[in-house]
C-alpha cells in the first residue's frame, strides 16, 4: 500500500490526498461501529422482551449481582475512556510521550476491568449461579427457571462485552507499539483516533450493560 519511503507523508495509492484518506478511514470505522451497535442491540432486544415478560423474576435475579463491584468497574472503564481520549489528542498534537502514556493507562485500566470481571464470574461460579456446562443452578430465589434465563443473558451480554474488550485491548497494544515507533505522525494520530473510537464504543456498551443488567432490576 505504501509507495513512498517512510518518514514522509504516506497516502495510499487509491486516494488523492491525506484528507480523503482520513475521511474514508473515519467513515469506515463509524460504519463498523454501527454494525457493532446493531449486533449488541439484538441481544439487548431479547433481554428487553424477557424483562417485559418476567419482570419480577428478572428483578429479583438481578439483585443477586455484585452491583457495587461492577459500579467500580464502570468508573475504571470511564476513566480509561478519558485516558484514550487524551491520548488521541496528544497524538494529534504530535506529543508522542503523552500519547503513549495515555494508551498505556488505557490498557492498564482495561486489564484491571477484566480482572475484576473475572473475580465476579468466579464468585458467581462458586455461588452456583453459572447455569451452563452442566453446572447445577443453585439459585434460591423465586422461579428458578426464569431466573436462569436472566443469568444466561447476564453471562452472554457481559461475555460479549468482555470479548470486545479483549479485541480492543489487542488493538490498543498494537497501536501503542506503533506510537512508540512513531514513523509518521499523521498516520499514528489517525490510528490512535480509530482505535480510540472503538474503545469509546466499548465504553458505551458497558454503560448500557451495567444499567440494564445491574441497575434496572434494583
Amino acid at each position: 500500500m505504501t509507495r513512498t519511503p517512510e518518514h514522509t507523508v504516506i497516502v495510499a495509492h487509491q486516494f488523492e490526498n491525506l484528507e480523503q484518506q482520513f475521511d474514508a478511514d473515519l467513515l469506515g470505522m463509524w460504519l463498523f461501529l454501527v454494525t457493532e451497535a446493531l449486533l449488541f442491540s439484538g441481544a439487548f432486544l431479547a433481554l428487553a422482551v424477557y424483562y417485559h415478560q418476567y419482570h419480577d423474576t428478572f428483578s429479583a435475579a438481578a439483585r443477586e449481582l455484585h452491583w457495587l463491584l461492577a459500579g467500580a468497574n464502570s468508573v475504571i472503564l470511564l476513566t480509561s475512556g478519558l485516558a484514550v481520549a487524551l491520548a488521541e489528542q496528544a497524538a494529534d498534537q504530535g506529543r508522542r510521550r503523552a500519547a503513549l502514556l495515555g494508551l498505556l493507562a488505557t490498557i492498564a485500566l482495561g486489564l484491571v476491568f477484566l480482572a475484576i470481571k473475572g473475580y465476579e464470574y468466579h464468585s458467581e461460579y462458586q455461588a452456583g449461579l453459572m447455569p451452563f456446562l452442566q453446572q447445577p443452578f443453585a439459585y434460591d430465589g423465586p422461579n428458578p427457571h426464569n431466573a436462569m434465563l436472566f443469568y444466561n443473558f447476564y453471562f452472554v451480554l457481559t461475555g460479549l462485552h468482555a470479548a470486545h474488550m479483549v479485541i480492543g485491548l489487542a488493538v490498543l497494544m498494537v497501536i501503542a507499539v506503533l506510537t512508540w515507533r512513531w514513523r509518521d505522525g499523521a498516520r499514528v494520530a489517525r490510528q490512535v483516533r480509530i482505535a480510540g473510537l472503538y474503545w469509546a464504543f466499548v465504553d458505551i456498551v458497558w454503560v448500557l450493560v451495567y444499567c440494564s443488567l445491574y441497575l434496572v432490576g434494583r
Binding site: M1, A12, H13, Q14, F15, E16, Q20, D23, A24, L27, G28, L31, F32, V34, T35, E36, A37, L38, L39, F40, S41, G42, A43, L45, A46, V49, Y50, Q53, Y54, P131, F132, L133, Q134, H145, N146, M148, L149, N152, F153, F155, V156, L160
Partner: protein, 537 residues
C-alpha cells in the same frame, strides 16, 4: 449498426497480465482481481447448490420418498438453502460486478480499502469452508432458517459448524458493505455528483447499507443460537420461558432485508442493460434512484410478514402486512420506468437484453405473487407451501440470477477482453426463461392446492405438477451449464473486444478492455449525467 465496433486489437498491458503466479492472485489488492476470486468461488457454490437442487427435484418426481431417505432429503434442502442464500445470492452481484465495476464507475483507482476487500474474500472462503465441513461431517437438517428449538435442542448434525460458517460469511458481507459505502462517499471522480451516478452504483450503495445494518443482527442471533446449542445456555428455550418466536423476529430482521441484498443489485444491473440496449437515457432517473433507497428502507420494516401464523400477535401481523404492501410500490414504479425507457428507443436483442427482459417478466410475476402472500388472509393458506417457494424463486432465481446472467454477458468483454458467442448466449437465455417457468410456475398451483414445502413425500394428487417442475429443472440445468462452457471457451477463442463493444455510456467503457491495473491513466472528470445516450442516437 455497431457490429463493427465490437472487436478491437489485442490489448498490451492490463490487470490480467500485470502479474503472474498464484501470489499475484491470492495476495492481490486489485479490486478487479478480487472480483475474479469471487467469480470463481461463487460459481463453485452456485453449482454445489444447484446439485442439491437437482437431487431434490429428482426425489420429488414420485410422491413416495423413494430415491433418498428423508434424512438425506432434509440435509439436501438445508444445504441448498444455506449455500444458495449465503454463498451465492447475497455475495453474487456485489462481490463480483460490484467489486469490479464500482471503482471504475465512480472513476477511482480502487475501492477505499483494498486490503479489507481482499480480507473479506478470505473471510468468505473461511465461512464457506466451515459450511462445507458441516455438509461433509454429517450435514445439517434445520433448513436455512435455523428455527429454534429444533436447531438448538433437537437437530442432529453439524449445526454449529454451519452456523459458524454463516456467522463468518456475514462479516464478509459487512466488510464489503462498509468498503462500498465509503468508496461511494469519498472516492467519486471530480464532477461525479450523486445524481450523475449510474443506477448500478446507487443500487450497490443501497445494498451495502442493508448489508451493514441487517447482517449484525443475524450475527448476534447466530451467537445466541450457538451458545444455546453448545453450552446449553437457554436463550430461546421454551422450558425456561424463552420464546422461539423471538428468534423468528431476530432472524427475519436480517433475512427479509437479505432479499433486498439480492434484488437491489439486480435492479441496478437491469437499469444499465435496459438503458444501453434501448440506447436511451433511463426513464425517470431520480425516481429510480429514490425508489432504490425507499426499497432499502422499507425492506427493514416488513419482516413480520414471515410470521403471520407463527403465534405473533395478529395486530402486529396487520401492521407488517400494511408495510409490506408499501414496499411493493417502489418496485412497481421501477417496472413501469424500465418499460417507459424502451419507448422510442433503439432496442437491440443481444443476450444481456434477453436476460434483462427475462428479469422484467419474472420479477413482475414474483413481485405480484409477493402481494398475494403479503395479503394476510391469503398468506394463511400460502405460508410454508410451494406457493411461497415459487414466489421467492421467481424473485431470487428469476430476478436476481437472470440479472446476474445479464451482467455476466454485458460486462464479460470488459472483464475478460473477449467477446462471447452471441448465438449460444441467446439460446441459453431462452432455455433459462422457458425452463424456469416450467420449473416454478407449477409450484404456485401446488402451493395454492396446499402442498407444504420441505416435504420429502407428498400426496399423490400433486404428482403431475411435480413432474412438470422436475422436467423444467433439467432444462434449467442445461440453461445454466451452457454459459459455463461457452464463456470458458471464449476466454481462449473469443474475439478481442473493443473498449466499448455495446456503444454504452459510463466510465467503465472509457477504459480499454480489459482495464489497466490502475483503471484510469488520468483521473476522469465527469461532465454528463449518466446514460447520455440521447446525444448521439
Amino acid at each position: 449498426m455497431i457490429r463493427d465496433v465490437r472487436t478491437g486489437p489485442a490489448p498490451r498491458h492490463h490487470y490480467l497480465n500485470a502479474g503472474h503466479g498464484l501470489a499475484s492472485w491470492f495476495l492481490t489488492k486489485d479490486h478487479k482481481r478480487i472480483a475474479w476470486l469471487y467469480f470463481v468461488s461463487i460459481t463453485g457454490f452456485f453449482f454445489l447448490g444447484g446439485l442439491a437442487a437437482t437431487l431434490i427435484r429428482l426425489e420429488l418426481i414420485t410422491p413416495n420418498g423413494d430415491l433418498l431417505s428423508s434424512d438425506a432429503y432434509n440435509r439436501l434442502f438445508s444445504l441448498h438453502g444455506i449455500v444458495m442464500v449465503w454463498f451465492f445470492l447475497i455475495p453474487s452481484i456485489p462481490t463480483t460486478f460490484g467489486n469490479f465495476l464500482l471503482p471504475l464507475m465512480v472513476g477511482a483507482r480502487d475501492l477505499a480499502f483494498p486490503r479489507l476487500n481482499l480480507l473479506s474474500w478470505y473471510v468468505y472462503i473461511i465461512g464457506g469452508l466451515f459450511t462445507l465441513i458441516a455438509a461433509v461431517a454429517g450435514g445439517i437438517d434445520t433448513g436455512w432458517t435455523f428455527y429454534t428449538p429444533y436447531s438448538t435442542l433437537f437437530a442432529n448434525g453439524a449445526v454449529l459448524a454451519a452456523a459458524t460458517g454463516v456467522f463468518i460469511v456475514g462479516f464478509s458481507s459487512i466488510l464489503t458493505g462498509i468498503n462500498f459505502i465509503v468508496t461511494v462517499h469519498t472516492m467519486r471522480a471530480p464532477g461525479l455528483t450523486w445524481f450523475r451516478l449510474p443506477l448500478f452504483v446507487w443500487a450497490q450503495y443501497a445494498t451495502s447499507l442493508v448489508m451493514v445494518l441487517a447482517t449484525p443482527v443475524l450475527s448476534v442471533t447466530l451467537v445466541l443460537l450457538a451458545v444455546e446449542r453448545v453450552f446449553g445456555v437457554g436463550i430461546f428455550d421454551p422450558s425456561l420461558g424463552g420464546d422461539p418466536v423471538l428468534f423468528e423476529h431476530l432472524f427475519w430482521f436480517y433475512s427479509h432485508p437479505a432479499v433486498y441484498i439480492m434484488i437491489l443489485p439486480a435492479m441496478g444491473v437491469v437499469s444499465e442493460v435496459v438503458s444501453c440496449f434501448a440506447h436511451k437515457r433511463i426513464f425517470g432517473y431520480r425516481v429510480m434512484a429514490f425508489s432504490i433507497l425507499a426499497i432499502a428502507l422499507f425492506g427493514f420494516l416488513v419482516w413480520g410478514h414471515h410470521m403471520f401464523v407463527s403465534g405473533q400477535s395478529i395486530y402486529a401481523g396487520v401492521a407488517f402486512s400494511l408495510l409490506s404492501f408499501l414496499v411493493s410500490v417502489p418496485s412497481a414504479i421501477k417496472i413501469f420506468n424500465w418499460l417507459a425507457t424502451l419507448y422510442k428507443g433503439h432496442v437491440r436483442f443481444d443476450a444481456p437484453m434477453l436476460f434483462a427482459m427475462s428479469f422484467l417478466g419474472l420479477f413482475l410475476i414474483g413481485g405480484l405473487t409477493g402481494v398475494f402472500v403479503a395479503t394476510l388472509a391469503l398468506d394463511v393458506q400460502m405460508h410454508d407451501t410451494y406457493f411461497v417457494v415459487a414466489h421467492f424463486h421467481y424473485i431470487m432465481v428469476g430476478g436476481a440470477v437472470s440479472a446476474y446472467m445479464a451482467a455476466l454477458h454485458f460486462w464479460w468483454p470488459k472483464i475478460t477482453g473477449r467477446l462471447y458467442p452471441e448465438m449460444w448466449a441467446r439460446v441459453s437465455a431462452i432455455i433459462v426463461f422457458a425452463g424456469f417457468n416450467l420449473t416454478f410456475f407449477p409450484q404456485y398451483i401446488l402451493g395454492w392446492a396446499g402442498m407444504p414445502r420441505r416435504y420429502h413425500a407428498y400426496v399423490e394428487d400433486f404428482q403431475l405438477l411435480n413432474v412438470f417442475s422436475s422436467a423444467g429443472a433439467s432444462m434449467l440445468a442445461v440453461g445454466y451449464l451452457l454459459p459455463l462452457i461457452y464463456l470458458l471457451w471464449s476466454l481462449r477463442y473469443g474475439a478481442h473486444a473493443s473498449a466499448n463493444p455495446w456503444n454504452a455510456r459510463g466510465l467503465e467503457w472509457t477504459v480499454p478492455s480489459p482495464p489497466p491495473e490502475e483503471n484510469f491513466e488520468r483521473p476522469p472528470r465527469v461532465e454528463h449525467e449518466a446514460y447520455a445516450y440521447d446525444t448521439d442516437a
